[in-house]
Symmetry: C2
């Protein structure tokens, strides 16, 4: 395809002295600028390079959207279950101001005359099995500090790793967080947390929406959590042009393929006392399934917004695995961490967690105040969960 840099633009660039080429900064070309921002509004963290919109008023938490929709009849945006109307302005620019929003990361959908569209002013995030528009409503500086980049501490990295899966029949991608100092200490081995995303998301959910690296960098730098490796794999069997209907299941991929791959590629402590698994929503369910059927491999379990009920008694649940996890020293669970947002019906999971505690398991309950089935619940869950790991 013809690249978006036109011949005219190239010619214009060639006229400028070569040193100037190193100085291209913001706004030099293109971008979705929209109308000038009203006082109090700033582009969001998630707003894309060169774009002014979407914008937020950090004090009121109102959001301003702008979208080029020409002569459309109706433009709306749906967010947090509420649909807002856009009004048409000059040059086909439609704008919309929402009511105050709750903090954290939110997907949203713009609709033009009945057609769902993507907002080019923001970044795209994989959710609901497609790339979607998303925004980040700022918390107070203090509340949100734990998931922002802190320039005053040491930083880990997230590696994009491709590995082959015979079960899936193709290569898969997992993201792996290694803590600060991993490269500098070539003889040190680390415990591992396998951390799963939810339904409709992928291996990038925890890396991008979840801000795992920033959260863990802070917890480790402050001594609250021990340095650990975090593996963020994909919870789906993948399809491809040649692999349309993959067989097998993801638990088998985790246990038979992913874990050996991780143990061969990274310096891991491989015993169960140094291996944890956690996940959010469907990833929480996958964690229950995987850990309770592989108690010889995992000694720590986390379920974020992922405990939706339990069949029968605690003792009989998961084919008696929780009984084994309590009574068999070789298969003991050191921690069963359960969290939910206060706005996603936490009563039942809270009650089950108490039952597990009464039964004799080290069950820990965390409730995220004022959040629902959403990423802020899960960022906070990771912040509470990770410090409990790999300590006895």
């Amino acid at each position: 395809m013809k690249h978006l840099l036109s011949t005219a633009a190239v010619a214009a660039m060639a006229l400028v002295s070569s040193t100037a080429f190193a100085q291209f900064g913001s706004g030099s070309f293109g971008g979705n600028q929209g109308a000038p921002l009203p006082e109090g509004f700033v582009p969001m963290e998630t707003t894309i390079f060169c774009s002014q919109y979407p914008a937020v008023n950090p004090k009121t938490r109102e959001v301003l959207y702008s979208f080029k929709a020409g002569d459309a009849k109706r433009v709306t945006v749906t967010q947090e279950g509420t649909t807002y109307e856009f009004t048409k302005g000059n040059g086909g620019n439609w704008t919309c101001k929402t009511k105050p929003q709750t903090v954290g990361f939110h997907y949203y959908t713009i609709n033009v005359d009945g057609c769902d569209v993507f907002d080019p002013g923001t970044d795209a995030y994989f959710g609901g099995n497609k790339k979607q528009s998303g925004i980040e409503i700022p918390e107070s500086e203090e509340e949100g500090a734990y998931y922002h980049f802190n320039k005053n501490i040491a930083h880990g990295r997230v590696s994009r790793c491709q590995y082959w899966s015979d079960i899936n029949g193709l290569e898969r991608v997992c993201n792996v967080y290694t803590p600060a100092g991993y490269d500098k200490n070539p003889n040190k081995k680390y415990p591992v947390l396998y951390l799963m995303h939810g339904w409709g998301e992928d291996e990038n959910g925890w890396t991008i929406q979840g801000r795992t690296a920033n959260i863990m960098d802070g917890l480790i730098a402050s001594g609250k959590a021990v340095p650990m490796i975090i593996v963020m794999d994909c919870g789906d069997l993948k399809t491809s042009p040649t692999v349309k209907n993959p067989r097998g299941n993801v638990t088998d991929i985790f246990v038979k393929e992913l874990m050996p791959y991780i143990n061969s590629e990274f310096r891991t402590l491989t015993d169960r006392e140094n291996t944890a698994m956690a996940g959010l929503s469907r990833g929480g369910m996958q964690t229950w399934s995987t850990v309770t059927t592989n108690l010889d491999k995992f000694a720590w379990l986390g379920s974020f917004s992922g405990l939706f009920g339990i069949n029968g008694s605690i003792e009989s649940a998961h084919n008696g695995a929780l009984k084994t996890a309590k009574t068999d020293p070789a298969k003991k669970l050191n921690l069963v961490f359960v969290s939910h947002g206060s706005d996603e019906n936490p009563a039942q999971p809270k009650q089950i967690t108490q039952q597990m505690k009464d039964y004799g398991l080290n069950a820990v309950w965390f409730e995220s105040k004022g959040t629902a089935h959403e990423w802020l619940t899960w960022r906070r869950s990771l912040k509470e969960f990770a410090p409990l790991l790999f300590k006895k």
Copy 2:
């Protein structure tokens, strides 16, 4: 926000036995399936999990698009400079078949009644300073093998690194490829190639659209290229809610901040003989600017679709830097690699390359047959360029 997993779906999931939760595979929920694919068509490599469209016929290279546009009056897709009309089908599904396409990666835009929209059936790629729809038209198996994942060889990884920039006033992200065996050889140091994307793209361009890891894994495994670290930074000064008008320039960021960061975080050979820089399009221009003003730091230069002219003679160009690069042993350029696609007016850069060669520089020309200002030109350029590096 309410997560896309509805309460009803959660209830349905809770009814299934826990083991089944580990088995959620393709198509269990949602996805943009569209009508069944006609014979000969398969989902593309770039088509998203759970989606059938866009699809391609690998033999004819025709592309089939599907888009839910309800009662729109007109739906089109623009690709390779040609606009195609969709036809309306059942259930608001509009479909469109293109003429045969050229191979490689292409951005495209769907337009509904005058409004540019994003295709939820495909992944999103940063280009033109926004996330855009993109597709990958397959080459023949043999031609494209060098940029596909090869399960029979060892693999490097790409790390997402966040580093603080005083010049930019905020944290920046660069992607860093480390070759297979990097972790296993903690005393080995590696040469470094700084590899820049083009205008409107970002640090993910080479990682995702460019397939750098697959290309380099193959070149290194076959002994064609020496193992090296590749740094893929962003060629823009970034903006943020708090940094609206950053000062400074990217050459300063590269030389004063990025290079020291890379040398402290990775095991690099830091002398000029082991340091190269290359870039595509505007990134090629940034390479000319940075290398010619820092000949004490770089001994190898690559310019892919990024040589658009030269002021005056070779000897006087870049304030005499090419003369220095020829005559000063401490500032000698070991390689000046120039490439263009055959379909993007290669005559002038080819001629300038010949002039550099005649002048006495080790100037190498590569022309990508049948491609224009696009990613296939640049994948092929990297494949030709990397084997020439760090060998004398």
